[in-house]
Symmetry: C2
Subunit: 446 residues, 2 copies
């Protein structure tokens, strides 16, 4: 309890002893944060937080921080069994391998475990939460979702009185940076990606980010916590942003929309047998007045709609050493204060095994972009398929000047209708020699 | 601990027994929320939350909820001494009187106390937090600031690892509604206020809202929690929005700004003897790209800048029965989970008694609007005063057509400079027969 002692940190209860596994930018960020804000944190936590031991691959790499005060441990899984450690902080990454081994051992040994590892939590969160509950050990992962933004706390505690009806999030800073750069400069995806890599906003291998997998990890975690459902990463429908062209952003803009990679989840009553969970990561058209349209650059944001609170927006830096370290240390402070709820907000056994929802029943408006051969009759063919599938077209723009190779872009926005109708129309058109590549479908939100 | 029991609520630990004092819209909102979300909340809290007793002025008023399950108590202070109550929830309002008496008695009796009463917390928060700490009783007031937005939790726990450098907030929904309506319709303050009253967005007596006092209550609470300083409502500098004309909003708009009532606080190192706390509620010019410019209608929002997290934005409904009930019950859930930090985030004895900062040293750009007599030489007189005081003018607009009565508006934006220089210039002009009313000064932020 934080009230225990007042004033001088040295009079306080015993320090909370921390081991850091992984000394990349976030690990060194945690060390720097505790050095700079340590006194304040000790007053907030009711006791000092003290790094006792560290582990990383290369002992001799220069990380710009003095590691001499800490015990160096070569085999990080040893951290789980040291008697002089209360909290193991995992900042290694990777859904399996050493990170998972460390998590299992630490929790198994009854140690508190804090991680920023979204992939591991998305894939193994149920198992780890069970382990934590059995051992009575805290498991926390605020930094795994949306960097420095306290959105897990916001859902699990701040909005705890609500049934969460939906979650919409911009959960990947790399994608948001690329999309807003494309928007600002009119350039194409490939060029902007390259710049983003040069500037450090995108990894050398950006696949996890630009294909939507990273956002899906985070969405699955938020959905479980928000809806009280079992973590179900495998049922997240995922599309990335690689297929988005400058022309799509221009068309969306002309209609009053911006394009954002949105993680969207909702959970609605099924027919008599529990809830249906819908989880999708996909580029969407967001109207300019919507709060998520104002989110630019590498920023992250989440809107969670509670049945009493209404929409709650949480926004901030989604990555970076400082913000991520801020979230990691907030978790440690909660542990020091003995503020520990179940890792997934509800006890694992009481999480609902909601079945995946059928996206075909979802009703919304869609932007559909066709790349077609520049010849007569193509438009009629598309329009006929839409009519036959029952898709009502609200507006249609055929780009005037054929692109190189005689391709023409046809973009349309549909009236509100079930997604199954759009799928049916695209099925009819599939294989048509008029289409030079697969159509791109993006939903309108808000 | 929430892990205690899993599954069936009836197997769980004893219910947390609640007394509600005050049965206005928020009080009945709490009853409705617990009825609708009670099962979910019991699973999240690890035990059921059960309203046991209620108290309000008029027993026989129809509130649209069934009060028969609850003990009715005429004298609400009795709630503090009942053995069958764990948490007293105060939703009566008023900084003193019955609300304060109830708070003192409840905490004195060691009962947990939850309130939505910003005026009481702003004026008596230090005393009540001391009482709570002495008694080891939780004191929570999430609903006192920004309605349903978990911003106190966001600062005290989510951003706990940070030194908070500044807080900017839109903390009064009535003012934000009026300002954004004026912006959207071009109408003047008085007309829009009247509409807001008819629509229920403004009270019959709106003084506390439109004069900035309500926002100042909330700002003082956030500042204490964010900066770790003693609650200092008396040193909040307060200006309201009653002096803002449609012409000001139009001028700001022409310059790329919107006008918002901003609560602004920061805390910086003084000269050798602790920190200097600055707290101001005033209408400000916010650039259109700033997150707070996008906050329209009765919405509230807070941006807190942490030294590691960077800016964190929390946004949502700032009032209303549902959102406020959501925040009240979130506090009760934390109490049920035994998640209790000190009421003001740090123990009262360790809060710093920061001296008020001298606003004269603040450096910023200012919008200054003069109402002047329509005659030659006035502009020269103003310009000379600015020059003599060392205020550098960036742009100046003299409204072409005199208003009724021969008044002319002159609006200018200064270059960045100390506030003391602007004050000096206005002092020189004070009493000049050229000015037909006091000039309006608004700072530019962002």
């Amino acid at each position: 309890m934080a009230e225990r002692d007042k004033g001088n940190v040295n009079d306080m209860a015993q320090a909370l002893r921390i081991a850091l596994a992984g000394l990349g930018t976030v690990g060194t960020g945690v060390i720097n944060l505790l050095a700079e804000n340590g006194d304040l944190i000790a007053r907030r936590a009711g006791r000092p937080l003290e790094v006792v031991a560290v582990s990383a691959r290369d002992r001799h790499k220069d990380r710009g921080v003095d590691l001499s005060p800490y015990a160096w441990v070569d085999d990080m899984t040893e951290l789980a069994s040291r008697d002089d450690i209360d909290v193991v902080v995992e900042l290694v990454g990777g859904s399996d391998g050493p990170a998972l081994a460390l998590a299992r051992r630490s929790l198994g040994a009854g140690k508190a475990f804090v991680t920023a590892n979204k992939a591991m939590v998305a894939h193994h969160g149920m198992e780890l939460a069970s382990l934590a509950e059995k051992a009575g050990a805290p498991l926390r992962f605020e930094a795994a979702v949306a960097g420095g933004i306290p959105v897990i706390k916001g859902l699990a505690e701040g909005a705890a009185a609500n049934r969460i009806e939906s979650i919409h999030g911009i959960l990947n800073g790399t994608c948001n940076y690329i999309l807003t750069e494309m928007e600002a400069t009119g350039r194409d995806f490939g060029e902007v990606l390259k710049d983003a890599q040069d500037l450090g906003y995108a990894e050398a291998d950006p696949a996890f980010d630009i294909e939507g997998v990273d956002a899906a990890h985070k969405l699955a975690i938020l959905a479980a916590i928000g809806f009280g459902t079992r973590l179900a990463f495998d049922s997240v429908e995922i599309s990335g942003i690689t297929c988005i062209r400058a022309a799509d952003i221009a068309q969306a803009g002309a209609l009053g929309y911006v394009i954002r990679l949105i993680g969207l989840a909702d959970c609605v009553a099924g027919e008599g047998d529990g809830h249906r969970l819908f989880q999708r990561v996909a580029p969407c058209l967001v109207p300019r007045g919507h709060p998520l349209a104002a989110v630019t650059g590498a920023t992250n944001a989440v809107v969670a709609k509670g049945n009493f609170s209404g929409p709650l927006l949480f926004e901030g830096a989604g990555a970076g050493d400082g913000p991520t370290a801020s979230a990691v240390v907030a978790d440690i402070i909660d542990i020091a204060r003995s503020n520990v709820a179940p890792p997934l907000s509800l006890p694992v056994d009481s999480l609902e095994a909601a079945k995946p929802a059928d996206p075909g029943n979802r009703v919304n408006r869609a932007y559909i972009r066709f790349t077609v051969a520049d010849r007569p009759g193509v438009l009629a063919e598309i329009a006929a398929a839409m009519r036959d599938a029952g898709v009502s077209i609200e507006s249609l723009i055929q780009q005037g000047r054929p692109e190189e190779g005689g391709e023409v872009l046809v973009a349309m926005v549909t009236h509100e209708g079930p997604e199954s109708a759009v799928s049916r129309a695209l099925e009819m058109l599939s294989g048509s020699p008029s289409l030079t590549e697969d159509p791109l479908v993006m939903r309108l939100i808000g």
